[in-house]
Amino acid sequence: MIDKRVACIEDAVRGIADGSTVLISGFGDSGTPFELLEAVLDQGARDLEIVLNNAGGGDDAIVRLLAADRVRKVVCSYPRSSLGNPVFDRLYAERKVELELVPQGTLAERIRAGSAGLGGFYTPTAAGTRLADGKEQRVFEGRTYVLERPIVGDVALVKAYRADRWGNLVYHSAARNFGPVMAACGRLTIVQVKEIVALGTLDPEHVVTPGIYVDRVVELGI
């Protein structure tokens, strides 16, 4: 029997290894799996490379992972927050955390390419800019493209809305954002949901992330 459900959030994050690349869903606060991140804080994995759109703000769990020196590298499009992120700014200034800045669409596409088994793709984004420095640029039909390589996560931490025991997922509103693309890209995909429903409850037409991509689901009621 296929059963991706785990009983508690400690079980959900069990076994995340030091040095892992961890994909974290969310756009600002929307769709960010803060509860899973709290559990990762407790779980103890260090030397992490985190891949996410923003880099936390205020004193959220991402900022506290950074403050606890648990993050080696941040791959993101926008490491700034309206709440401010002095922890990241300090670590960055002191070169204690590496930053790989990736345009948002390229970030999503690199993660998708990783999940899709592609070796890379040519995007017009960033061609002729500083963010293409050191990358192969190539002209097709008169337009310049940058070669981008896939990202694969050892772990994906995703917030969704509802799941079933097969790990099928639906999301809530704008919290969908990076969830579907990251869920498909984690070697170990861990999902927090508000509610786990009986198998067959989710309409096959409406499933956004098929359960094949999901390894563990924990129900949090929020």
Partner: protein, 221 residues
């Protein structure tokens, strides 16, 4: 200086959005454009975080904390709206499906080069967000900005001094002082009331030429 307020720049842009246009709103000034769209037009606003058909801010008590726009402001969805993932949203953006992206800008060059993500004096970690994807992807890029910096330095230049977001992408520039078309150089379509062409040229770092039908730029309540 004479000219439009920031809010009036947003108003001015809104008057030019055609009925039926699909429009992305960059963070900052562009997010104040939608309320000024004339009520007889249906304009569909896209938000890079996977929303198409973004509506106004929610009424108090109806907020959904997860329903935010690219600036992380609370929004609503209109009838006809749809939600998609980030990869699908940037397929839409990069693939040339949006008619117009409204973007803030630090600098724009006479060739339409855009600089809107990195200033030289800023020591904080850089952030680019979706700006580069929007700049290469939308059919038209309209920038909204003050005509000069606070210290009076021009933002419209022969060459941008700041790092580029994308080369040759801006098609129209809206400032507090002018509406400028980027087409084989910079053509001034409107000049703020009370300002003459020579005065506009003096606060601009690139050569301008007036459109044959150059009109006054004025706010009409």
């Amino acid at each position: 200086m004479t000219g439009l307020s920031r809010e009036q720049i947003s108003w001015r842009v809104a008057q030019d959005l055609p009925d039926g246009a699909y429009v992305n709103l960059g963070i900052g000034l562009p997010t104040s454009v939608p309320p000024f769209v004339p009520p007889d037009r249906e304009v569909v606003f896209q938000s890079e975080n996977g929303l198409l058909g973004v509506g106004p801010a929610p009424a108090p008590g109806t907020e959904d904390p997860e329903l935010v726009n690219a600036s992380k402001q609370l929004v609503t969805l209109l009838p006809g709206a749809s939600i998609c993932s980030h990869s699908d949203s940037f397929l839409m953006i990069r693939g040339g499906h949006l008619d117009i992206a409204l973007l803030g800008a630090y600098q724009v060059s006479a060739q339409g080069d855009l600089a809107n993500w990195l200033t030289e004096g800023d020591n904080k970690a850089p952030g680019v967000g979706g700006a580069m994807d929007l700049a290469v992807g939308a059919k038209q890029i309209w920038t909204l900005m003050e005509h000069t910096t606070k210290s009076g330095e021009p933002r419209i230049l022969e060459r941008c001094s700041y790092a580029l977001t994308a080369p040759r992408c801006v098609t129209r520039i809206y400032t507090n002082l002018a509406v400028i078309e980027v087409a084989d150089g910079l053509q001034v379509r409107e000049i703020a009331e009370g300002l003459d062409f020579a005065a506009l040229q003096r606060v601009t770092g690139a050569k301008l030429r007036p459109a044959p039908d150059c009109r006054p730029l004025r706010f009409v309540a």
